[in-house]
């Protein structure tokens, strides 16, 4: 076992500053895999790490390993545009995403790690009469679920974002505002959960790819990995874009297809936009990171691919509307572009579910918009793994909704991707 980690505080910062920052401990141990665990979590993204943390913290299960094929947060967690909101149409989604939002609101304190959660406000633009009707319906549904949601006029949008071009090819008629929405630092979410989970005894094992499941009598007994077999009483699989690959190893299929999704950031500039602005209709959304870069989310490619890149034409389709709405950005240089592999369901809602294999649980299908759900997803998944029965918030998100027909259609309803 390692030395007990020291909490971060203003005093530890001062003390280490005097030491030229030579005295900081590693944030988590580099664990060697044991032969057996009570629970093995496959996938060291935000959702997997959060699951491990809540298992240890709230479910009394500390004999847990998180097995990650690459590095922590190297999947979609470290590639996303970090938008957090809970303004979804359907009751089931409201329950899930608002559960996450409440956890976000206390997360930095809970983890003793600054995840830089910033409730800077989030605007959904409406560009047409139809868009206005859609935000009218959704805004009221959200409000009735007890979640903050306000309608703002185009003039109010202009006050919030003075350089927006309201009267362009995509005229702005109004917007839906969630003031509690905003952003968080993606890497910090993975690292904060990893450190806090490790602190409670969870083994974090990187560079360890799961290559198969050991299944006897339709019950999972462990995982095969590139670092040997690891036994487990229960396995939670949280691998996002690769969920179908893992499901195939376990002998079943999922109602999911994987697509590339891209994002890009500009060169850093002085503070210019202090909220998040999204537009579902033209698929352009933008915010500014604390470093000053404009963070722009692009669309996904229309064909299945694990290439983690995305087509060049998609960038053009994204940047065009951005410049139309914000002509001031036309001469900014783009600094970086990258892609992730997103796991998309037909109804654009996730799967948090039992599977045909006993004691093997899957949490996936978050597609283009699961970062915002990280704390809530991990929390309800941990409780479901602990009891063996799905947590009430997770229950509607089972795989078999695609057989019963009880879809949670956020795709058609909200027409927004993140």
């Amino acid at each position: 076992m390692s030395v007990k980690p020291k909490p971060y505080s203003i005093f530890s910062l001062a003390r280490n500053a005097l030491n030229y920052h030579q005295g900081w401990q590693k944030a988590w141990r580099n664990a060697e895999p044991k032969r057996d665990y009570e629970v093995v979590i496959v996938g060291g993204g935000g959702h997997g790490l959060a699951t491990a943390y809540y298992l240890a913290k709230e479910c009394g299960i500390r004999d847990v390993a998180v097995v990650e094929k690459g590095w922590l947060g190297g999947g979609n967690t470290g590639r996303n545009t970090t938008i957090v909101r809970s303004n979804y149409l359907w009751d089931e989604s409201a329950g899930l995403y608002e559960h996450a939002m409440k956890l976000w609101e206390g997360l930095s304190t809970d983890l003793n790690y600054n995840v830089m959660f910033s409730q800077r406000g989030l605007l959904h633009l409406a560009h047409s009469v139809h868009d206005m009707q859609e935000i009218g319906r959704r805004g009221n549904a959200i409000y009735l679920n007890g979640i903050d949601s306000e309608f703002v006029t185009s003039q109010q949008v202009k006050e919030m974002v003075p350089f927006i071009n309201l009267d362009c090819r995509y005229p702005v008629h109004g917007a839906l505002l969630q003031k509690r929405g905003g952003t968080a630092r993606h890497d910090a979410v993975a690292w904060g959960y990893a450190r806090a989970a490790d602190n409670l005894g969870v083994d974090i094992i990187q560079n360890c790819e799961v290559t198969g499941f050991q299944v006897e009598d339709s019950t999972v007994k462990g995982v095969e990995t590139t670092r040997g077999r690891i036994g487990a009483k229960k396995v939670g699989c949280v691998v996002a874009g690769h969920c179908s690959v893992l499901a195939e190893m376990a002998g079943f299929r999922l109602p999911i297809e994987s697509f590339p999704l891209q994002a890009l950031v500009s060169e850093p500039v002085k503070p210019i936009i202090d909220c998040v602005v999204m537009s579902g209709a033209i698929h352009a959304y933008i915010s500014q990171s604390d470093k000053g870069e404009l963070v722009i989310g692009a669309g996904s490619d229309a064909y299945l691919s694990y290439s983690q890149r995305g087509g060049f034409d998609i960038i053009e389709h994204t940047v065009g509307p951005i410049i139309e709405l914000y002509p001031i950005f036309s001469r900014l240089k783009m600094l970086r572009q990258w892609g992730g592999v997103v796991d998309v369901t037909v109804d654009r809602s996730p799967l948090i579910s039992k599977t045909p294999v006993k004691n093997l649980f899957f949490n996936c299908g978050w597609g283009t918009g699961g970062f915002k759900a990280t704390p809530g997803s991990g929390h309800v998944f941990a409780h479901s793994i602990k009891t063996g029965d799905m947590h009430p918030i997770a229950e509607p998100f089972s795989i078999n909704r695609f057989n019963t027909g009880a879809l949670i259609d956020e795709g058609a309803a909200a027409a927004v991707a993140h």
């Binding site: 179908s244 994987s258 229309a302 691919s305 019963t404």
Partner: protein, 100 residues
């Protein structure tokens, strides 16, 4: 951007085409006789492989005809394209269907 060979029009930019998902899924002959499992499986569950994928494309901004593509989803290499009435062609892993 992929370069895709329409069996009728030849090599064109991917932006002329639309991807239509997994190929060779036969519609059940008697849908009303299927269980919820079978019907849901037909409608929503997919192979989604990381590797060779047999998929349908339509040349939307060209001849508007449908055809099949064999593509590796890990590398995006296209191995072959073929018409719906043609048998699934043989292909080798090394070969990609691109103009010389």
């Amino acid at each position: 951007m992929l370069l895709i060979k329409c069996p009728w029009c030849g090599y064109r930019d991917q932006s002329e085409f639309s991807a239509q998902g997994e190929a060779h899924i036969a519609r059940p002959v008697n849908p009303h006789e299927l269980s919820e499992e079978q019907w849901g499986d037909y409608l929503f569950f997919r192979k989604n492989p990381k590797g060779v994928h047999y998929e349908r494309w339509v040349h939307s901004h060209g001849c508007r005809r449908w055809f099949n593509v064999i593509r590796n989803t890990a590398t995006d290499h296209i191995h072959a394209t073929y018409r719906p009435d043609e048998p699934v062609p043989e292909f080798s892993d090394e070969e990609t269907d691109q103009p010389a």
